[in-house]
């Protein structure tokens, strides 16, 4: 099958994205078999999200259509196309945590942060995300902030942990 020759196209300008940095990330991972996820992870780790402006670059380098790249990014809950807050707060919504009050914790978190799931607190500090199990199911309700886990999270503990995160800025 003939792969459609990729026509160089102008990338939608997005001054906040350093395309050279993105290019070098893609170069680093593109030779891996099945490079797409490692590339997307590396971009999100570096930029905090996968901006739409990098899609043509990835498509070009991995010899795929933009639609395919976009299709992958949008399929996975982990990848986001918009910038997030400084910290990602994930609260477990799965059954074992439900059994010990996860719903109440979620309600508290939404009120405390003043945003819904996938939203960001108005000070730009915290983006709230649901997660379906963190593997800490014997000690729920659980949450993870960036890579830090917290078990048996009461409303008070939630407030304390977030205060501490704010404090270390």
């Amino acid at each position: 099958m003939q792969i459609e020759a990729s026509v160089p196209q102008a990338v939608p300008s997005d001054p906040s994205v350093d395309l050279n940095q993105v290019r070098s990330i893609i170069q680093e991972f593109k030779t891996l078999p099945g490079a797409m996820l490692p590339v997307l992870h590396a971009i999100q780790d570096a930029l905090g999200h996968v901006p739409p402006s990098v899609v043509p670059l990835i498509a070009d380098e991995l010899n795929l259509s933009r639609a395919e790249v976009h299709g992958v990014i949008s399929f996975y809950h982990h990848f986001r196309q918009q910038p997030a807050g400084r910290h990602i707060v994930q609260i477990c919504r799965a059954e074992a945590c439900q059994a010990v009050g996860a719903d109440a914790l979620v309600a508290h978190a939404k009120a405390a942060l003043g945003c819904d799931f996938h939203g960001t607190s108005s000070d730009g500090q915290f983006t709230l995300e649901p997660v379906y199990c963190l593997g800490q199911c014997a000690c729920g309700p659980n949450m993870q902030i960036d890579d830090d886990l917290h078990a048996r999270v009461s409303n008070d503990k939630f407030n304390r942990v977030l205060r501490a995160k704010r404090g270390v800025q």
Partner: protein, 524 residues
């Protein structure tokens, strides 16, 4: 050197549940107190024993054995030093010899034999505890002999479907392809399960050894561990352990001087439950959307990048080293019927003593919930347990004498799945749980089949109507819900769509009083 100067060894777990409960702070406080008091200690970050209600569980090595203290908070540490815990002295958090704690003593730990005892990242520690004995034996055997040993052990896949591992390996071994792959399914998306996570964090060399033996058995030279992105700690530990194994000659080219080579790599998932399904996982590894493939072809014939692939769950692969080290007959001696060996079961949710229990198949649900788990954490009666993850049915107390064995569970309409047991007390609203099952399916469906993709959204709407509805509506809507479930069961390509009806229907069947304003539940 006199015995007096020998530093005391203190263990503070590095398992992520222990971390979530403050283990790092406790370890730091111990190091600080020791320094302040001029005492030299040997602080080991071990794995977790899996008794999570006691975490952080600090252990002190004494002449009599390892004495436990737990749960310990960093504020308790000074008092522990004052009380003389370095020589195993009494304290309100003292637990005595850890090995003698009934929860642990009553287990039959084969796969988890080392977990919580060793430092997960110490290769010398691993080797001192029977590590790589299986691989050493395997290197002297032919691929066919290895496959036979695993067949003889009776090992069935621990990821849920319980397919015999040896048969899968045999199929891959029989292909003539030059490139074959070993893929470890470490997606562990089921709520209430954490045994895969514990293996990766607390005894990673065991998984690496199991995958290496699988590679020898089928003639594969490359392997991938696909770990969910929700497990950053497991990913970090695996990467370190793989680097160590590579530099020590246990991975890479010419393993331990043999002619065999095996290259292993960790790949991170991206938050999609369906990528635990084996073919969706392969698509994801190939860099695509995690959409389920129709079978045939089986992954054993056409798997990753179109090549023959062994894809196994973490616990399946982690069970292989001991089978090789001790022999198939030893392993097979545990268990009952066609469920042989042991299963690491996981007690989760509203349970007083949540944690990991490895027992031979055949233990009853009641023994686990009461003898091990001690009932609910809230102290209220248990009303329902969900066994086998989000696609497993909810079981009422009436069925708690069921033995945990694949066939016995199936006989009561249950499933064992990955061995996760999630406990709910009597405050649970079962209509809400049924709704959640449909909602989860709607969020996580790969989108390939209509009954799963659209049906689950319709399911949520119908349950909402039932919950809100008056009697004539409820009767009609419950009939509609059952029809919808029927369509999902019969019209779905994979278990996501075809098994979501299990939790929904079990809630309706066993807990009808929760559906439709009180007395109307009879219609269920």
């Amino acid at each position: 050197m006199s015995a007096l100067n020998t530093p005391v060894t203190i263990y503070v777990p590095r398992d992520s549940t222990a971390l979530a409960l403050g283990a790092d702070q406790v370890a730091a406080a111990i190091a600080q107190q020791a320094a302040q008091r001029g005492i030299s200690i040997n602080l080991v970050r071990n794995g977790s024993r899996g008794m999570f209600w006691l975490e952080p569980l600090v252990e002190v090595a004494t002449a009599a054995g390892r004495i436990g203290y737990g749960p310990v908070e960093s504020d308790d540490v000074a008092a522990l030093f004052d009380a003389g815990f370095l020589s195993g002295a009494q304290h309100s958090s003292a637990l005595g010899l850890v090995e003698e704690i009934p929860y642990l003593k009553k287990q039959e730990r084969l796969t988890f034999a080392r977990v919580g005892i060793t430092d997960p990242l110490s290769l010398p520690d691993y080797l001192a505890h029977e590590g790589y004995a299986g691989l050493r034996r395997a290197l002297g055997m032919s691929g066919a002999e290895l496959v036979q040993e695993v067949l003889d052990s009776g090992l069935r896949g621990r990821g849920g479907a319980a397919f015999p591992t040896g048969i899968k390996w045999k199929t891959v071994a029989a292909t003539s392809a030059k490139q074959k792959y070993i893929v470890c399914n470490a997606d562990e998306g089921d709520s209430g399960t954490f045994s895969d996570r514990m293996v990766m964090e607390d005894d990673p060399f065991m998984l690496i050894e199991g995958m290496t033996i699988a590679a020898l058995a089928v003639g594969a030279t490359r392997g991938y561990i696909y770990v969910r992105s929700e497990y950053p700690h497991a990913i970090a530990v695996l990467n370190q352990a793989i680097a160590t194994a590579n530099s020590a000659g246990y991975l890479g080219d010419n393993i331990l001087g043999s002619a065999s080579s095996f290259h292993l790599e960790v790949r991170k998932g991206a938050g999609a439950y369906i990528c635990g399904e084996e073919t969706a996982l392969l698509e994801s590894l190939e860099g695509k959307r995690g959409v389920v493939r129709a079978k045939p072809p089986l992954p054993a014939i056409e798997g990753l990048f179109g090549k023959p692939t062994v894809i196994n769950n973490v616990i399946s692969l982690a069970s292989v080293p001991i089978i090789l080290a001790r022999g198939a007959a030893f392993y097979k001696n545990y268990g009952m019927g066609r469920s042989l060996g042991t299963l690491p079961m996981q007690l989760a949710g509203n349970i007083r003593r949540g944690g990991l229990v490895e027992k031979a198949f055949g233990v009853t649900l009641r023994e686990l919930l009461q003898d091990f788990g001690g009932g609910t954490a809230s102290g209220k009666p248990i009303r329902a347990v969900q066994v086998g993850g989000p696609l497993g049915p909810y079981l009422p107390p009436l069925l708690f004498d069921t033995k945990l064995d694949y066939e016995a569970m199936a006989a009561v309409g249950g499933m064992l799945g990955h061995g996760g047991i999630v406990v709910f007390d009597d405050s649970v609203d079962m209509a809400k749980q049924a709704r959640y099952a449909m909602e989860f399916c709607a969020v996580e469906s790969c989108g390939k089949c209509t009954p799963c993709r659209i049906g689950s959204t319709r399911g949520v709407e119908v349950i909402d109507k039932i919950v809100a509805g008056e009697s004539h509506v409820v009767v009609q809507q419950i009939k509609l819900l059952r029809d919808l479930c029927d369509t999902m069961v019969n019209g779905s390509l994979c278990a996501m769509g075809s098994m979501t009806p299990l939790p929904v229907l079990s809630a309706l069947d066993h807990f009808p009083e929760d559906f439709g304003k009180g007395q109307l539940g009879q219609a269920a």
